[in-house]
Amino acid sequence: MYEGAIQDLIDELGRLPGVGPKSAQRIAFHILSADPADVTRLATVLNRVKDQVRFCTTCFNVAESEQCRICRDPRRTNEFLCVVEEPKDVVAIERTGEFRGRYHVLGGAINPLEGIGPDNLRVRELMARLGSGEVKELILATDPNTEGEATATYVALLVKPMGIDVTRLASGLPVGGDLEYADEITLGRAFEGRRAV
């Protein structure tokens, strides 16, 4: 145990996800020996994140104003709405450069084992957005795992009666991989989703 501020810093760092007591100690001593200007910059950024970053009131992506950059962009179409679990998924899809529609961030996936049901996600807000009638296609881009698939199934059940096209991201073989190394589930899904060339 250390005394005073350094122990407080180790304790606070140890509360961060993925940071154990040894890592917390290492980071704390790195901060202690770092240039004061670097530490001030880190502290300023931490304060700015808490003060200025909020959730977009439309799509619930992270934003620094009422609406995020994507919701404010007039060049994007309102006809396609892509549903994702977390803001980091928006970034992943944006990196592809393939999608010019809007997003809706659910804030997680349905996971009854963790006590997370539809009411804990932003499903109600999604339904309100779809009620405007502008959206022609809803793209479900939740993770391709059990919770993500169950969430997609649940949302599709709610949305299909509204007459909106509901699509799911294709899943299959990673580009650059060898077929023989694919597991049977991924390969099976790739077969199911095969397309004419």
Binding site: P112, E114, T146, I185
Partner: protein, 260 residues
């Protein structure tokens, strides 16, 4: 680490729960045939390049090789999943059926709670859990009936089966009209504590049928009896578990299929 040997051991197991760990790993909770409930790390399974991540999704029956001490010493940290082969991946059968997915979650959480001590083998619970997931995936019976049958029989394995064909207090045989969760099941008029429920006779018939595996009677049960049965089973289970199941209130019982 004195006395600690890391070795490979093999078992078949049902995947009950997966939790994220670090950048790309997962902690997998398994109910295995010979080693009881286990927790092991599956490294790199969240990467798209993972060769066995898809086999370790919840509700799958898998054959795995684990690195660690099968006797339970965890001096070297959590055990590690080194190889996985799929036996039957029931999880993918629930993906397009939300009510069955929620029922499977309740089965998995109950299995976890009924095996509180890691590495304590319970083959009856393993076979019951496997059978319940198999029945749920086969879609021969309503999902909530399969869930209630599992909960009733699971409580039987744990030693808390509700008394249904005799009085829970005095043991007088016969079908009694009152049901008291604190007393332990159906109670006769002499033993009936204040505040006991008075379920319909069809509800108690359904509970007996589900406990005994009489699916002809169970499938023919009316929606009202099914609802009342689910309520009594859930109340009885939560009374004995002391801490409620998180997944049970989220079980979707609203579809038309449940009414068939």
């Amino acid at each position: 680490m004195p006395g600690y040997r890391r070795q490979l051991y093999r078992d078949d197991a049902v995947v009950l729960r997966v939790q994220k760990l670090g950048e790309s790993d997962r902690i997998i909770t398994l109910l295995s045939r010979r080693h009881g409930r286990l927790r092991a790390v599956a490294r790199g399974v969240r990467r798209t390049t993972s060769r066995f991540g898809a086999r370790l999704e919840p509700f799958g029956h898998v054959d795995l090789q684990i690195a660690g001490d099968p006797n339970g010493n965890i001096g070297g940290g959590l055990h590690t999943v080194s190889q996985v082969e799929a036996i039957q991946l029931y999880g993918k059968r629930f993906l397009d059926d939300y009510p069955r997915y929620t029922a499977a979650c309740a089965i998995a959480e109950t299995a976890e709670r009924l095996s509180p001590i890691e590495r304590e083998p319970s083959q009856r619970l393993f076979l019951l859990t496997l059978g319940a997931l198999r029945a749920l995936a086969a879609r021969e019976h309503a999902g909530t009936l399969v869930l209630d049958a599992y909960l009733l029989r699971g409580m039987g394995i744990a030693g808390w089966a509700p008394a249904l064909a005799e009085c829970a207090v005095c043991g007088t045989r016969g079908l009694h009209k009152a049901f008291s969760v604190p007393a332990g099941g159906a109670v006769c008029p002499d033993c009936r504590p204040p505040g006991s429920a008075h379920p319909a006779p069809a509800t108690l018939d359904l509970m007996i049928a589900l406990s005994a595996g009489d699916w002809t009677v169970a499938d023919a049960a009316e929606p009202g009896a099914r609802r009342e049965c689910s309520g009594l089973v859930a109340a009885h289970l939560q009374w004995h578990l002391e801490r409620g199941l998180r997944s049970l209130p989220l079980v979707d019982r609203t579809t038309g299929e449940e009414q068939k």
